[in-house]
Symmetry: C2
Subunit: 556 residues, 2 copies
């Protein structure tokens, strides 16, 4: 089997202006970045507002193994398959971070025969969006500390500056730092730290903004810390949001590339799926919906996290209404949720698999709450046995759903034709009656409690008195209408990653809250949340280099 | 008078593929970044090697005021004027840093009618080179600390890791920090700090590399710190240089934009002029020389710093041979060097100006040492009087040089026709017999001493015993053949910024040394060197925003 980068390198790409042209976008509206990447002019994007939308399909997944179950490849394979069926379909994905590329997990441009290309570009700097977001974030940090250095007329509490810094690299050494040492010329000594760029609130804002004005307004609403009198201080008060917007202006235009089968792929924005909402940008999704009959998109982690936030945050805030959803499962993840150890997942184990189907079952029930038709995609691996596949199909039939064996990783779109046929039918059926899980007017606590009970299957939500008071405080400060952005482990419905399957009799404890006043959600942290990963003992970066032909080797 | 951004916005730009086409570059060799910025394919650049070079003209300056004397606008105006004279001329400039854009000094894309466009793009993210350099630099930092965290088999001394981190923002708060606190999961507590990206050795390497292989080799040679046994450790030993090169591969292709008069401008690389060599990339200069009959370039700060390093580092290491040089002077800088206070520089003051001409005189003598023909450009300001201009011309005549009044800031290329006519004559005269100031085989100490005596006019070079031993140590480690990269104040020939004019009877004290083993020079620090500026009390960023038309306001 060829490596992803070998397959990508052999791809026959069409000029991106031709991809755009097939979408009806004139070359004058295309901002090229090389010959195979482009942005679509924001003015043009805004001019599309009155066009009807295509159908929106979400690809989500069961609770994943650490390797991920292949939402990205399914989304790409599904879009390719729909195009093979003569449907005009685009795929909308998140932009990769450099962190995993140089760390453990590798790139995020799909894999096998279901990739987006040019793979190296997408995985490395792409069109520079990630760098622009990092620069805007860090400019605000510098302006905060500079304000404190020179005057601090607002009496910002140096101990309560909540705005950290970001870098798009896995760098554990920066998680917790002390800045401003070395004397008065270097500012005041303060505690601080770095998150990875995708965890930045600027990234979340970027992905939820409707347009430049909305972006500038939201950036201004960011709460960067508190005064000695515990009054919140915003980026607008420090006159930082305009310059931040200037840094983000070009980046906000959505990116267009293509799949290996030369179908349009919008790859724009990539917020973390724990402390942010884990979906690509609203602007890209809306643009794709105006230019395509079907848009396939995905959301981070399992459906308890990604789909929940896609529906309750992204769709709620943008007015997008999905028409169908696909739940991706793998035999290995089902066996893991049936209690099999990670080193035994390639052996057939029907009892374990059947036990693990409980996990899928709860995701099916959960996704059903949003009023949209569902189907299941089995992302096929070489070790899967026929009996295992059959067991999944039997189970989903008992739940009233079809399950489609998908071999897109090996076969490209052809491997997802069955899935595509049904997805198109479901999306066209107008069955969808999309509804969010909770209303805006519910209290912040009740919103989090609803997710814990109705999605995680928890008996209830708990929090210490101090955290409960914070909920009340945010209500009092006028943020009560925000949705909640739950941050918890992706490996379990519960907050304990070891509780596989569909655990009952568990309670969800809120450990802390983080206001994202610009993104307009309240992050409810339940468990250990990684805002800055570390590199592994042998990082992928050790094996990456440029060969004598000028090609990048070792990227995967 | 219109602001720079207003003038830039009203520019009639030609598509960059047409600018390239005029240079004889086919559109297939052009990598567009939007319609008005491009990179030239590296393979194509390499294919030009056997073509003859055009003439190379350096624009340098007398010792500047804090506002700078206009080398960039003179270089642009001169190239435009040469084109008006029917000569095929390109200009090669450094890429701006975001730091000054958001700080005090504003952008670095020229000014008035001598600008390079698109101005906002060039000043903000441009083609992403600065971000790529920052990412490569910080990846190495993360890999060093990750190596220490997991194994540290080499026994790196945590107190002697010399590789810092970078960010392209003025952020004094990060000059000196403590990282790795919060427990074993966050690495070892260590001292560290941030420099601005242009001060990165990666930037210096990027600007001196001949091609990708040379880049990868040089990155591998970076010394990142020392073991407990005081042995140097390189980036190659940590297997980091390949991934760093992958991050820089696309950036290494030179950038092409245009002047307001639609002439080609190569803007690529921008190292600091104190702890690095302050010149745009060798690759861009070489490419421009293959594609143009005349190439005008500039080097940071006054001729004691920028020109000295251009000749003794950039030309020495790349084999470039300059054909002529222009020394830029201003009436206000001459008066400052005659002792006038900064708030009285707009008043006529002939005695002060005449006293200040000593400063120019020493720069003329110094530049004469390199064996190339010289001329002087008077960058005209509205307050200059005729008597002041006349005094400058009389003086330069007495030194055997012409001085040309240049009004390019107001008039574009037309304002530099006289200058251009003489520069073309000088460059065509084949008078130049370029020689560097010192030979490779001289000891590091003697190289620094030669610059101090022959350029700064110092009586001698001093250093404490500890620093002298470091000189010896670097000789012993095999770096004795490197040139020296002097880091001192740009405001005086001496190390005291208050000693204006052409001070005599001074000695230059070396405070510390910094090895740049990848850039292949030894930084000799004489005085306070700023590796990370701070933002001013009212940073320019406070007034930057995006207006309702989506245009950036407040950038200057």
């Amino acid at each position: 089997m060829k490596s992803d980068i070998e397959i990508a390198r052999e791809a026959t790409m069409r000029p991106v202006i031709d991809i755009a042209s097939d979408l009806g976008v004139d070359r004058a509206q295309v901002i090229p970045y090389g010959h195979y990447k482009a942005k679509i002019e924001l003015d043009y994007v805004n001019s599309l507002q009155d066009r009807p939308n295509g159908k929106l399909v979400l690809v989500t997944a069961m609770s994943p193994t650490p390797a991920g179950e292949g939402k990205t490849t399914v989304a790409i394979g599904l879009a390719d398959a729909m195009n093979q069926l003569g449907k005009k379909a685009s795929v909308c994905l998140r932009e990769p971070s450099l962190g995993p590329c140089f760390g453990l997990k590798g790139g995020a441009a799909g894999g096998g025969m279901s990739q987006v290309v040019p793979m190296e570009d997408i995985n490395l700097h792409f069109t520079g969006d990630m760098h622009a977001i990092g620069a805007a974030h860090n400019l605000l940090a510098a302006m905060i500390d500079n304000y404190i250095h020179w005057s601090n007329e607002l009496r910002l509490d140096l101990r309560r500056v909540t705005w950290r810094r970001v870098v798009d690299i896995n760098d554990r050494q920066l998680r917790q730092i002390v800045t401003g040492i070395g004397g008065p010329g270097n500012g005041f000594p303060m505690e601080g730290g770095y998150d990875i760029t995708v965890a930045s609130e600027v990234m979340a804002i970027f992905c939820l903004a409707q347009n430049i004005e909305d972006l500038q307004r939201r950036l201004g609403s960011i709460v960067i810390g508190y005064t000695r009198d515990r009054e919140p201080v915003t980026a607008a008060q420090l006159q930082a949001s305009g310059a931040m917007t200037a840094l983000l202006r070009d980046a906000l235009a959505p990116n267009l590339v293509q799949t290996l089968e030369n179908n349009p792929a919008f790859i724009h924005g990539g917020p973390f799926a724990n402390i942010a909402h884990g979906c690509n940008s609203v602007i890209a999704t809306q643009t794709a919906l105006k230019l395509s009959d079907y848009v396939v998109t995905e959301a981070g982690f399992g459906a308890d996290l990604g789909a929940e936030k896609f529906f309750n945050i992204k769709c709620r805030k943008s007015g997008l209404t999905p028409d169908a959803a696909v739940i991706v499962v793998t035999v290995r993840a089902l066996k893991m949720h049936g209690g099999v150890a990670r080193d035994a997942l390639t052996e057939e184990n029907l009892p374990a698999l059947e036990a693990g189907l409980e996990n899928l079952g709860r995701h099916i029930r959960n996704c059903g709450q949003y009023g949209i038709p569902l189907t299941v995609a089995i992302n096929h691996f070489a070790d899967d046995t026929e009996a295992e596949i059959a067991a999944i199909k039997t189970y989903t039939q008992s739940r009233g759903l079809e399950a489609h064996l998908c071999t897109h990783h090996r076969d490209g779109g052809e491997g997802a034709i069955d899935l595509a046929t049904q997805v198109a039918d479901l999306a066209d059926s107008s069955q969808a009656q999309f509804r969010t899980l909770y209303d805006d007017h519910l209290s912040l606590w009740e919103k989090a409690r609803t997710v814990a009970r109705n999605v995680y299957g928890a008996d209830d939500l708990d929090a210490d008195q101090k955290v409960r008071e914070q909920f009340d405080q945010f209500e009092a400060e006028g943020y009560g209408h925000f949705p909640v952005c739950m941050a918890k482990t992706q490996y379990s419905f519960s907050t304990d990653p070891r509780l596989v399957g569909a655990p009952g009799n568990h309670r969800v404890k809120v450990r802390e809250l983080a206001l994202a006043a610009g993104a307009e959600f309240l992050v409810v942290v339940c468990g250990d949340i990684m805002r800055m990963p570390g590199l592994p003992r042998s990082p992928a970066a050790n094996n990456i280099y440029v060969n004598a032909q000028g090609q990048i080797e070792g990227l995967f």
